[in-house]
C-alpha cells in the first residue's frame, strides 16, 4: 500500500477500494509512528478533514485526495511556517504560497510540514533550529539538505509526495541521499510567491516523490505563470506525458568524463557507470561533452547566493513579523541587532556576513560582478553542450550520506555541491533519480535538460525506472 504510485492510489480511490479518510489515516499513522525516529516533520496535520478538501472541480482528478507534505519554506495559511528558523518559530502566514494553493486546488491532501536547513542554507539538514533530520537508510547519517525533511519523509513513505525547493542542489542532493526522485524545474516555471526567499535568482520550487512519473504529475499541477511573481514565465501550459515504453533509441545523452573522474569513491563511480550503461542498453547514445567553466561554479555560487541572501534576509527586523528580542531597548538599531542575532543560527549569520562583504564597496566588481560573468560563461557552456545532446547525465554528489557531525564546519560541505550548482546558475531543469546503491546507501544520477524542457529529463528518468527498481526500494526499518 505505502509503496504505490500516484496512479495506483488514484485507482484505489476511484474504485472505492479505499476511502479518503482511510488513506489519510494510513499515512498520518506512519507520520506519528516514525517521525520521532526521523525528525522529518515540524507539523503533522492531525485534524485533517479529507472530504472537506474536495470540491466539484477537483474531486475527480488524478491528484485528488493524494497525500503530500510541504517543505516548511512554503507559506501555509493558518499553519505555522518556520523555514527551519527561530526567527519564524511562531509565524503563522495569513496566506498560501501559490504552489500550495495550486496543489490544494488539485485536491491534494496536506499531511504536514517538513523540516529543513534554516532558510534553506545547508546540505545536511543539521542547520535546522528544530534539530537535525535523520536519514531513514541509516539514522546516524544525514538526509542531505536543505530539503532533508521532505526527502526523508518520502523515503520512509510518510507521504508519497513532498514539495521542496532547490537553490544550489537542495532537491537533488537530498533526493540522492535518501534514494528517491526529485526534480527542480527550470527557473521561472513555478511561482515563488509565498516561498520564503533565500537567493531570488536561483530559488525554484520542485517535487520529491518515489518515481519520475509521480514527480511529473505533481509538477504539472504546481507550475505555470503567476501574476504574483513577475519572474514566473508566461509560456504554453506544460503537461506531463508519461512514456509508453523504455526504448531510448535516438536519444543523445551528454556525459562529462572529467566529472566521473572526480568521483574518488570507487563504488559511487561504479554505480554511475553502471547507470550510464543501462541507458545505453535502452538505446541511448552517450556523447562526451565539456563544461569548461563549471569548475568555477562553486566559487561563483558562494558569492552570489549569500549576496542575494543578505539582501533578502534584511526584511527580518523583528518589527512586522517573526522573532523579536525579549530585551526592551530604547534604541532601534540595538533592537535590530539583538533580534537578528537571536533569531538567526550560526550558518545563516555566516552567509549574511559573506553576502554583505561581497556587496560592499571595494569588492562588488571584483567578486559579485565577476561571479555574474562566470555565471554567463557557464550558461554558454551548457548552450554549447545542448547543441550536441538532448539531455545530460552526470553525478549528483561525490559522496554517500555522511554521519551527523562528520563535517562540523559548513565550509567543508560547500565543495560537495560541485555537480549540482552549475545547472542552478544556468537556471536549467534537472533531477536526481536513484541508481545502484554504494556502501549500502543510496546514490543518485543527475539528469539535466535544456531550458524549459522538463519533459526530456522526466521521460528519460521514467524510462530508466521502467527497467530498474532502485526507486521502489525502501529502508527496511520503515517497510
Amino acid at each position: 500500500m505505502i509503496n504505490l504510485s500516484i496512479r495506483e492510489l488514484n485507482q484505489l480511490l476511484e474504485k472505492k477500494q479505499i476511502s479518503l479518510p482511510e488513506l489519510s489515516s494510513i499515512y498520518l499513522d506512519r507520520c506519528q509512528q516514525f517521525n520521532p525516529l526521523l525528525n522529518a516533520l515540524l507539523h503533522i496535520n492531525d485534524d485533517i478533514q479529507p472530504e472537506q478538501l474536495l470540491t466539484a472541480d477537483n474531486a475527480t482528478g488524478l491528484l485528488s485526495g493524494i497525500p503530500l507534505i510541504h517543505k516548511d519554506l512554503f507559506s501555509t495559511h493558518g499553519v505555522r511556517t518556520t523555514a527551519g528558523s527561530r526567527m519564524l518559530a511562531e509565524y503563522i502566514p495569513p496566506f498560501d504560497a501559490t504552489v500550495v494553493a495550486r496543489l490544494n486546488q488539485a485536491g491534494m491532501m496536506s499531511l504536514g510540514k517538513a523540516n529543513m536547513d534554516e532558510f534553506a542554507m545547508g546540505s545536511s539538514n543539521e542547520y535546522s533550529y528544530f534539530g537535525p533530520v535523520n536519514n531513514p537508510w541509516d539514522l546516524n547519517r544525514v538526509p542531505g539538505g536543505s530539503s532533508g525533511g521532505s526527502a526523508a519523509a518520502v523515503a520512509a513513505r510518510l507521504t508519497p509526495v513532498a514539495t521542496a525547493s532547490d537553490t544550489g542542489g537542495s532537491i537533488r542532493q537530498p533526493a540522492a541521499f535518501c534514494g528517491i526522485t526529485g526534480i527542480k524545474p527550470s527557473y521561472g516555471r513555478a511561482s515563488r510567491f509565498g516561498m520564503i526567499a533565500f537567493a531570488s535568482s536561483l530559488d525554484q520550487a520542485g517535487v520529491m516523490a518515489v518515481s519520475a512519473d509521480d514527480c511529473g504529475l505533481v509538477l504539472e499541477a504546481m507550475m505555470g505563470h503567476d501574476d504574483k511573481d513577475s519572474t514566473s514565465i508566461k509560456a504554453d501550459p506544460w503537461s506531463w506525458q508519461a512514456p509508453q515504453d523504455a526504448a531510448m533509441q535516438g536519444l543523445k545523452v551528454g556525459v562529462i568524463p572529467a566529472w566521473i573522474e572526480q568521483l574518488t569513491d570507487d563504488d559511487i563511480k561504479q554505480s554511475t557507470l553502471s547507470a550510464l550503461e543501462t541507458l545505453v542498453e535502452q538505446g541511448a547514445e552517450l556523447i562526451e561533452v565539456d563544461l569548461p567553466h563549471a569548475e568555477l561554479a562553486v566559487a561563483a555560487y558562494y558569492i552570489l547566493a549569500p549576496a542575494e541572501a543578505s539582501a533578502n534576509l534584511a526584511r527580518f527586523d523583528g518589527i512586522r513579523f517573526g522573532h523579536q528580542c525579549a530585551d526592551k531597548s530604547d534604541d532601534i538599531n540595538d533592537m535590530y541587532r539583538k533580534t537578528r542575532s537571536e533569531g538567526f543560527g550560526a550558518e545563516v549569520q555566516r552567509r549574511i556576513m559573506l553576502g554583505t562583504w561581497a556587496l560592499s564597496s571595494g569588492y562588488y566588481d571584483d567578486y559579485y560582478c565577476q561571479a555574474q560573468r562566470i555565471r554567463r560563461l557557464i550558461s554558454e557552456d551548457f548552450k554549447q553542450a545542448f547543441s550536441q545532446v538532448d539531455v545530460m547525465a552526470v553525478p549528483v554528489s561525490p559522496e554517500v550520506p555522511f554521519k551527523h557531525g562528520e563535517k562540523s564546519d559548513g565550509v567543508n560541505m560547500y565543495q560537495a555541491d560541485q555537480f549540482t550548482i552549475p545547472s542552478s546558475l544556468a537556471g536549467l531543469p534537472c533531477l536526481s533519480m536513484p541508481i545502484q546503491p554504494a556502501h549500502n546507501l543510496p546514490v543518485g544520477l543527475q539528469l539535466i535538460g535544456p531550458y524549459f524542457n522538463e519533459q526530456i529529463i522526466l521521460t528519460t528518468a521514467a524510462k530508466f525506472q521502467m527497467v530498474t527498481d532502485y526507486h521502489r526500494q525502501m529502508p527496511e526499518a520503515f517497510v
Partner: protein, 95 residues
C-alpha cells in the same frame, strides 16, 4: 585576500548582527576560508563577458494601477509583537 577584524565589525554593523568577540573570531575564520576558495574566480578572463544577473530573460510586467487585493491590514498587524491604532510600534527613532 584577508578580512580583518575592523572590516568584520563594520560588516556586522551593516548586517545588523551583534557578534561577540568569539563569534567575530569564528566568523572571520570561516569568511577567510571562503574568500580563499572564491579567490580563483578573479583569474578567469571575463573582459568581454557581460554579467548575467538572472538565469532567464524576462521583462518586468506592468499591471493596471487598480487595487487588486482587499486590505489585509488587521491580519498583517496581528503578526507584529507591538502594534496599536494601525501602526507598528518601535523604539523612538527621532531625537
Amino acid at each position: 585576500m584577508s578580512i580583518n577584524r575592523k572590516e568584520l565589525t563594520e560588516m556586522a554593523e551593516l548586517a545588523k548582527l551583534d557578534l561577540n568577540a568569539e563569534q567575530t573570531r569564528q566568523v572571520g575564520q570561516s569568511l577567510n576560508q571562503i574568500t580563499a576558495m572564491v579567490e580563483r574566480i578573479k583569474k578567469a578572463d571575463t573582459a568581454q563577458v557581460k554579467p548575467m544577473f538572472h538565469p532567464c530573460q524576462f521583462w518586468m510586467p506592468l499591471r493596471d494601477d487598480v487595487v487588486a487585493e482587499p486590505s489585509r491590514k488587521t491580519e498583517l498587524l496581528a503578526l507584529a509583537r507591538h502594534a496599536d491604532d494601525n501602526f507598528y510600534l518601535v523604539p523612538k527613532v527621532i531625537e
